[in-house]
Amino acid sequence: MNDTLLWYTTRGAGAVTLVLLSASVVLGILSALRVQSATWPRFLTTGLHRNLSLMTLVFLGLHIVTAVVDPFTHLGWLTAVVPFSSYYRTFWLGLGTIAFELLLAVVATSLARGFIGHGTWRVVHWLAYAAWPIGVLHGLGTGTDAFSVWFFPLTVICVGAVLTALGYRLIAGSRDPLAAPRADFEAAVQQKEA
């Protein structure tokens, strides 16, 4: 009975991770596009993006831990950290491990942004664009529920949302609404003769 509970938790947490991560990616793209209105200032987008990302890690942790401790699977802890080390569905589980580690890097560098500087953070943050599709493929490739009536439409919705946001970003570009006020301010604080 307990084993079954672990197994259901693994699957459920995996599905929740997919939804949270996709929402976080969409919000990340929206904040790069500087989407905002009078009642929704941009720092709410980034705040939600940050909190969703942290929650993603929590459910991802649950997903991994329950999968590993499930005595039925015998996956072992190595599977969680070394890609393609699993005897079971080596390729598809390996994708999950890679996605997990990429996300860990993205979140860790965000938390340490004050120490590593903006430039380094930004470079690492692009890895989110790799982590998300790898995670989706992992779900489709090895998910017990991958093509069930509830999970497959969920995947389609998540992929659709991210692709829509991504397409929007590519078309709309990321026009910088701060360009004009920044130029004004910089003109006001130019060096003059001492």
Partner: protein, 391 residues
């Protein structure tokens, strides 16, 4: 020599104290070198520009990486709207500041001193230039003078360094901090002019000067700069400034990045960075603003929030848009009366904004707003519509 004060010597109306008079009064520049760092650290001196950062700690970390190549940036930008003490000190006692700068340069191993002086502080700049011309050649050749643009953020250490390096006084994100990589890439000590004047006295007496400079602002009979003992209470300082013009309702301690305190709790507080820190307060840049009972606190706060939002250097969204959203919500309450959604929005956004910008401008502005919401909770909760008026 004990109990030296910053403004000892000739009357302030007589203008700057010349070099000969300065040396006659205090003696020549004492020997410094790295050993001064321990004296400064042991004294507990903290920065008087606003951040209240331990001076000895900063000097030690710069000396450790300097190798004789560091830069001392003397910060006389004084962009804080109500503060006057830095320009008064530069105008009246320029040699104290220069002493402090050369002592700091010798202690941390610096090969260059930059005087960063507010472009609108004309008499202060004249006085510092004249004082520099009186110093010996080996000191003069270390120094260059740069004008600080008259904007709030221009006094931030990273903005000062950016102006010297790139000609634009916008703050840059840390890391690297100026003390890691500052002017021309060298480790740079950015220190407020009053802090350096304290060092000039400290190097002579080996003890922390018992006084500091504050600017009394708002509802007092004689607004302006006072030199007060550290055991002076705010109530006593108000009396020294000729008393209040009318009963006050609250005090803003530390300028626009400071905290509001109800008058009943404020008057007995000591004007001492260490004592205030124990209450979770900061003397900041030393502005003590008295808010008269007849003035509307909400309208004052809205005016200052609009000012701080306008002083964003527009480099980061959370600061430019976030502060604007907060100032707008605050202004709506001020002009149209309390509405619960703006109140709720302010509380929520204020909790979201800190730590999100490249510099600390949004953090300072939000801390100011949070202390206002706390101290003037009732006023914000039941504010009648007021016509816009300038703060």
């Amino acid at each position: 020599m004990t109990n030296l004060r910053l403004l000892d010597g000739r009357a302030l109306e007589l203008g700057a104290e010349g070099f000969a008079e300065h040396v006659r009064r205090l003696g020549p520049l004492p020997d410094a070198g790295p050993s001064l760092i321990d004296v400064v650290a042991a004294s507990g001196l903290t920065g008087r520009g606003g951040a209240d950062f331990p001076v000895g700690y900063k000097w030690r970390s710069i000396a450790a990486v300097s190798g004789g190549s560091a830069v001392v940036l003397v910060n006389g930008a004084e962009g804080e709207p109500r503060s006057l003490k830095d320009r008064l000190l530069m105008t009246a006692r320029p040699h104290l500041i220069l002493d402090g700068a050369f002592l700091a340069a010798s202690a941390v191993g610096a090969k260059q001193v930059v005087l960063y002086i507010g472009e609108e502080h004309h008499s202060a700049r004249q006085s510092m230039k004249r004082a520099l011309a009186e110093r010996p050649e080996h000191e003069r050749r270390l120094v260059r003078i740069v004008a600080a643009p008259a904007r709030y953020v221009a006094g931030t250490s990273s903005a000062a360094v950016h102006l010297v390096n790139a000609g634009v006084a916008t703050p840059t994100s840390n890391p690297p901090t100026p003390h890691e990589r500052g002017v021309d890439g060298a480790p740079t000590l950015v220190q407020n002019v009053e802090t350096l004047a304290h060092v000039a006295l400290l190097a002579r007496t080996r003890q922390l000067p018992g006084t500091l400079l504050v600017t009394m602002a708002g509802g007092v009979q004689r607004p302006g700069v006072l030199e007060v003992e550290r055991e002076t209470t705010i109530g006593e300082a108000v009396a020294m400034a000729g008393g209040a013009t009318e009963p006050s309702q609250a005090v803003l301690i530390g300028g626009y990045f400071g905290s509001w305190i109800e008058i009943s709790k404020a008057l007995t507080l000591f004007i001492d960075p260490q004592a205030l820190r124990a209450y979770g307060l900061s003397l900041g840049c030393g502005v003590i603003g008295m808010l008269p009972a007849s003035r509307c606190a909400v309208c004052e706060v809205a005016g200052i929030m609009r000012y701080l939002a306008g002083e964003s250097s527009a480099q980061c969204g959370p600061c430019f848009f976030g502060l604007r959203a907060l100032a707008d919500a605050c202004s709506r309450i001020s002009e149209q009366g309390t509405n619960s959604s703006d109140l709720l929005r302010m509380r929520r956004w204020a909790a979201e904004a800190p730590g999100r910008g490249g510099c600390h401008h949004p953090d300072g502005a939000v801390m100011f707003l949070q202390s206002a919401l706390q101290t003037f909770g009732d006023e914000f909760a039941q504010h009648p519509p007021h016509l816009r008026r300038s703060a």
